[in-house]
Amino acid sequence: MSLADGAVISVLLITDEDVVRARKVVRDELAALKFSMIEQTKMVTAASELARNTLRYGGGGRAEIEHVTGNGKAGLRVSFIDDGPGIADHELALTDGWTSGGGMGLGLSGARRLSDEFELDSAPGKGTTVTIIKWKAF
């Protein structure tokens, strides 16, 4: 599968199997952009963490995947969007080991480490959108 310019793939995140599907779509798009195995694995792992968060803490939502370009580089941007409770304390949520739900607390902070760009847009009652980007040199 190859995304046309500006095209976005949307993956619903409602079930456990959807997380697996999201991983596969992200993997396929990274491979299409010819990212290295290591870069692919890091980004897919980040996507898996965030997709799971959307499911477990966001009450379900969706992932949006698209090709991007910037500064002469190609990249893949993935956003994880939910209408859940939202995150009040961003800094706490981004602390290694902190979890509100019995997990390992590495999802958000790990995704930030594994991607090149990371953005958290969330507030109580306003849902959560986490966006990650992986860039490659042309």
Binding site: V19, V20, R23, M37, I38, T41, T45, E49, L106, L114
Partner: protein, 118 residues
Amino acid sequence: MERIPILRIGRLLLVTIQVDMHDRLAMTLQDDLTTRIVKDRATGVLIDISALDIVDSFIGRMISNTAAMARVLDARTVLVGMQPAVAITLVELGLTLEGVKTALNVERGLALLEREEE
């Protein structure tokens, strides 16, 4: 319900994970392994992840938990075949698989478990 098959070789249990597991399947595997350790009085568990191209924090925790439960039941766990990209990613993720020994492949994993026995 789908399950990942667990093989028994003597007092050792062998699991080869060949599918991209969703969370429920991973939890089922954790429960199945623990049940089998007791039922078969296993002294060792070998988990082959050579086919996995991603191990995230949930799967990592499943593996650590399984090893911890095995330990409580006096069995040792060895993880084999971790792909290099997975190893690199786990370190960057900050995930330490505590209580889990690793080996390059099934053969060396079995040898490690046998050494542990003596």
